[in-house]
Point group: C2
Chain length 465, copies 2
């Protein structure tokens, strides 16, 4: 009835458990069968009684057996369809996710750096320090509340006041796992009244998708050389999502006058302005313009920032500054939520900020990206084909605008044939038909300076002949 | 008009910028005023012309000035209400978050370990290894897609097959920032049809709040000694949330027969079963019962797991296993989403699993918690006052049930007066009126073995005299 393999096949009690379980499931042992007592079976198999008891009690716990006091163990009634676990597949069998397209030498993406920009040495140093610090705190083994660690929020607040001119109290500053989570929290926090979100067109698709997932209607707002154009009609908005420091993806910076109009517009509409300040720390020719939040006297601006551009997108850390009026509702709404941001990483970034290492890093990144930006600008200046570049004063990308209409798909394919991946501007438009057919999107943060001439040569072969 | 302080107060160009900005805002310099040329102002202030130009170009960028070719810089028209940033407050002024209640010697919480259980040495070792590995991969500076790293998902899948008997392919396994995020994703993935969620009563409030935030109606299901009781009425459900291995908080383990009924019930209702297997790796007297997912032949079970119990709640990592039918919809729904789980941590946990260190850790935690569990059981056995403990076979908490009704608030207050924080069972009930008034909730994972006698003594003073 039971065969034991003393050479492996797992512990003996487990072999007994598995064989009995199988026999109950395939009804070799029908319901109601009385099993031999543990003493009998132990004798039969010439093993210790404990081993048998261990197997029996496991089957008991799982409901395959019932114990009747003074009588013994009985097989329970189980339905035919009660299927056992399938034999586990070999890992090899499991499907692998689709591989990326072949032979891309240069990927001009916007969501990635070159790996050598990750501050590995500083990260290791402060990570180990943080680990030592936390070793003396219960927090390392505790769930944290949603707003994030004061240890990080204090130096971050000092830093943001200094470089972005923001004015707020500590309880307005929340640490998140990045922009998408920040927006998701805000959609849960601010009830849908009009249910509408005014969003710059073109704009950031990864922001749009969060609004749509939260059942808000995204309404496009046109852009001019001063920034977002405010619609005349009297409809209300829950949110106005904007990128005033460096409009994504056109690179327009919102003028002082437009900023003020926007603040009053938002107040009139009872809307909250979501100021996505995604890469304003990168600034090549001027100090960053103070954040819109810094001139908001009407308590309407939510400031959104990220550590992705200076540290790494793989870090998954960002932050938001709430208007005062939303602090209490936030605490209430999320009182049963826990932060999704790893504690040790929060301590590590805190030490980067406290030590001044973060500021050094910002300077280093600015120098690096400015050089790359200028190398690309110079490269495109040498094109015979007439084209212009978006006038970004910051950021890690630019738009190439050809003076004549192009077929985006074809231009992208031709670049790819030369080993360079560039991106359509189409995806930034909610209304894709409205997308001008003469522009392409190029991120330059992933291309090392030494490679840029080769990259430009390839684009010339693709586009300029 | 402009006063420079050469002893600090920031760089000179910044002092000029700030003073001009202030004068424009308070209209000491009204709109239309022509500013002195940079040469004139430089001479006036006896500083370099570049310094002035730097200040002017900043004001130009921000829209406070306009440049008229061949004529000079003019103050732009700005509205009265255009307010400058307030002077930043000293950090000291900002409100600190509320401090916890005074003098708690022992906190019998369920969401925390003693800090000495965090595997600091192993974590440091594998974290540094992971950092070295990643140093050769572009991923360290890249945004990742939502499902998580294959590097982690492969060994995790092998581990789960082995200890939980789950059967699935790699693309069904998703890494998340913990249970709440897993549930949130599922609510976004599975459209509301009935809009109802069947949930064990009592149950886990931090799960309930996610369903409610996602506008699902939570319907309580009673419990008996076999687990969740399935309602007779014909209404449908989107989800059935359950904790079969160790019902939270009663400790009931779902019987084999009930598991099978549940699977067929779910299939009939077109509902997905959310199997929260939160602490099944902790098992004191038997091998963990195979997961419900392991006997699901109907593709209805979503398996939910976490690293909080074995590694740390502050790690913020968990995972879910989708039914095959939800894999494609998941990819589609979240194609514009990025994982919120730190990449380096995913690599570190992968190495913990690959090395076998994680399995050792599970054993160590089991030994530790079993001892603490038994010390508490023994302690309560010595109470004069008649009480029983929930028969948990796993987990990090227990329910104390007094044979007579008690005033939860008063018992909690009396324990607190002795320096011990215990928790009401009230919060686990959606319908608080239905909560039996004779039980209290005690987590034992935060109390070191040596402290348990003292902790028990305090509870005796509080409750037993």
């Amino acid at each position: 009835m039971i065969e034991l393999n003393h050479q492996g096949d797992g512990p003996l009690y487990e072999q007994i458990y598995r064989q009995l379980r199988a026999q109950i499931l395939n009804q070799t042992l029908p319901a109601g069968t009385r099993l031999p007592s543990s003493r009998e079976l132990a004798a039969q198999l010439q093993i210790s009684r404990n081993t048998v008891n261990k197997a029996y009690s496991q089957l008991l716990v799982e409901g395959y057996l019932a114990a009747v006091r003074g009588s013994g163990y009985y097989v329970q009634q189980l339905p035919q369809t009660f299927a056992p676990a399938r034999a586990p597949q070999r890992p090899g069998h499991s499907r692998r996710p689709a591989k990326p397209a072949p032979a891309v030498k240069y990927d001009l993406t916007n969501s990635s750096h070159t790996r050598n920009l990750f501050p590995k040495r500083a990260w290791r140093k402060f990570m180990l320090e943080a680990l030592d610090t936390l070793d003396f705190e219960e927090r390392i083994s505790t769930l944290q509340s949603l707003e994030g660690e004061e240890v990080l929020r204090r130096p971050l607040l000092r830093y943001l006041r200094q470089i972005r001119g923001v004015h707020c109290d500590l309880d307005q500053l929340i640490i998140t796992s990045g922009l998408q989570q920040s927006l998701d929290y805000l959609c849960q926090l601010v009830p849908a009244t009009s249910g509408r979100v005014l969003m710059e067109e073109p704009g950031y698709p990864k922001a749009r998708v969060i609004f749509e997932k939260n059942h808000r209607q995204v309404c496009p707002a046109a852009l001019d050389d001063q920034g977002i154009c405010l619609p005349a009609e009297a409809t209300g908005y829950d949110f106005i999502y904007t990128t005033p420091s460096n409009q994504f993806p056109t690179g327009v910076m919102m003028s002082a006058a437009r900023r003020r109009e926007l603040l009053h517009f938002a107040a009139a509409k009872q809307a909250f302005i979501l100021e996505d300040d995604y890469d304003s720390e990168l600034r090549y020719y001027n100090r960053p313009v103070p954040a819109l939040q810094s001139i908001d006297t009407l308590d309407r601006v939510v400031y959104l920032g990220t550590f992705s551009k200076i540290l790494s997108p793989s870090l998954r850390m960002g932050y938001l500054i709430l208007p005062k009026q939303l602090v209490a509702p936030f605490k209430e709404t999320f009182k049963l939520y826990n932060s999704t941001v790893n504690l040790l990483n929060q301590y590590t970034v805190a030490k980067l900020l406290e030590s001044g290492e973060y500021t050094k890093l910002v300077r280093r990144m600015n120098t690096t990206f400015k050089k790359r930006f200028e190398a690309f600008s110079a490269g495109f200046a040498s094109f015979k084909r007439p084209l212009t570049l978006s006038q970004n004063l910051s950021g890690q990308y630019l738009l190439v605008e050809f003076s004549a209409a192009i077929d985006q798909e074809e231009m992208i394919a031709r670049a790819l044939a030369e080993g360079v991946r560039v991106y359509p501007t189409m995806e930034f438009w909610r209304d894709r038909a409205a997308c001008p057919d003469n522009a392409l999107f190029l991120g330059f943060s992933k291309i090392a300076l030494v490679d840029i001439p080769d990259c430009i040569e390839r684009l010339k072969r693709a586009w300029d002949d």
